[in-house]
Symmetry: C2
Subunit: 238 residues, 2 copies
DNA sequence: CCTACCGATCGGTAGG
DNA sequence: CCTACCGATCGGTAGG
């Protein structure tokens, strides 16, 4: 309640700054430009954020915090199964606002030191948690023995962010054959397939009945193929 | 011979511009900064390239032309086998000068329209050629039937460029366990493994005779696993 | 949140 | 390839 309107302005500044930094880059965007979109003067903006660089930091922090807030439920609710669900949710975060992906890629290039720290803070814990789960799945012979679980997890995140950032900027480069025209979906589908196929041991090797917990007809139930086509609704360009 | 020295200056400008654009971005780099490194004055630089934007275009064009000049031999000499060799050479191009990767990523974000055209010109033909080869390998049951060959090829290139650009900027994010500290190799090794494992049909599954077409112990001859462990020397975490 | 204003730097041109 | 110089814009401050 207190300062509700001021909060709103701060939020507007952050929102417009995110958009512009993502699309034009930090040094390609002037404080003046951001202020214009918000509908205030430049010195007023600099009252809320005491420098352009402060604004940049808060924009990035906000994006990563949102990521951190949303990620846990996805990964924790998904054990070693539900592969497509995890991929779909992860993809969804960046699809909901592709500027997030563009912003992160730009920051990696522009502020590498800072981003190293932020990744250590926001991403690495989850990569390690996922890595542990995969390591256990490996012991149960569900995951290929030669997977470098940490590098794999990091790779999936990297591909995802890069792909979404690139598509957001230039659209899909693949020729759109077929009537449906959703090239983005095609890229994401193949990316998901690659991630899945390179992770799991292929169709059951019969002999590991010894190994697998008794309960299961192991490879089939894996729930992994569930939504192989998970994104129908939104990103579609029709 | 004619204008040899002038050519040299032009080349120096291009070289320093590539470096600076890759590391600081286009709008984060001033003409003055480039001129300083070359050891000339700003107006002299603008005699060789009539605007900053012209310089940018030539920098990008030069990088892509080098790529185009070097790629054919790699891909043509490699048929459906020699997977690791192709990946290695492709990786090598960007490893030789990681600024190439950073520059391309930046251009995708900064000049998406232009990059769409350039990718269509420089990359798509090779993606399609590779796609054709993979499609044939698919008919011979070497490649997984569900691979989207074009999307796959594009994905491999995208991952490669993104990974190298990120590593060039921030180094490796993975904890360096093991004494040697070559985290880059580890990332590239896992990226290569993912690309290979998600492409080829897996090693013969003994008991699924029921499932598999009668014909084949197909997977053995594949020549594909040649260097399946090409990261022994370097990337291994030991 | 504003007007007024700062020094610094930007890309680029004139003119030789 | 240089000196000299241009108008425009940059991030930011003073002061209210």
């Amino acid at each position: 309640m207190v300062g509700g309107a001021a909060q709103d302005i701060r939020g507007q500044i952050l929102a417009h700054a995110t958009r512009l930094f993502a699309r034009q880059g930090f040094s390609g965007t002037s404080v003046q430009q951001i202020a214009e979109r918000v509908g205030i003067r430049k010195p007023s903006l600099l009252y809320h954020f005491k420098s352009k660089d402060t604004l940049r930091r808060e924009v990035v922090e906000q994006t990563l915090q949102h990521f951190q807030k949303v990620l846990p439920e996805l990964l924790l609710s998904a054990r070693d199964h539900q592969f497509d669900r995890v991929m779909g949710s992860l993809t969804g975060f960046f699809r909901d606002d592709p500027d997030r992906a563009r912003l992160l890629v730009r920051e990696i290039l522009d502020q590498p030191e800072e981003m190293r720290e932020r990744i250590a803070k926001y991403v690495t814990p989850w990569v390690q948690l996922l890595g542990d789960q995969l390591e256990r799945a490996k012991e149960r012979d569900l995951v290929r023995p030669d997977v470098d679980v940490e590098a794999y997890a990091m790779q999936v995140v990297t591909s995802l962010v890069a792909n979404l950032a690139f598509i957001a900027s230039m659209g899909n480069v693949l020729p759109d054959h077929g009537a449906h025209g959703a090239g983005t979906d095609r890229v994401i589908a193949e990316m998901t397939r690659i991630a899945r196929a390179s992770l799991y041991v292929d169709a059951a090797s019969p002999a590991d009945a010894s190994d697998a917990p008794a309960q299961t007809p192991p490879s089939r139930e894996r729930a992994i193929q569930t939504h192989a086509d998970q994104r129908d609704g939104e990103g579609k360009k029709q």
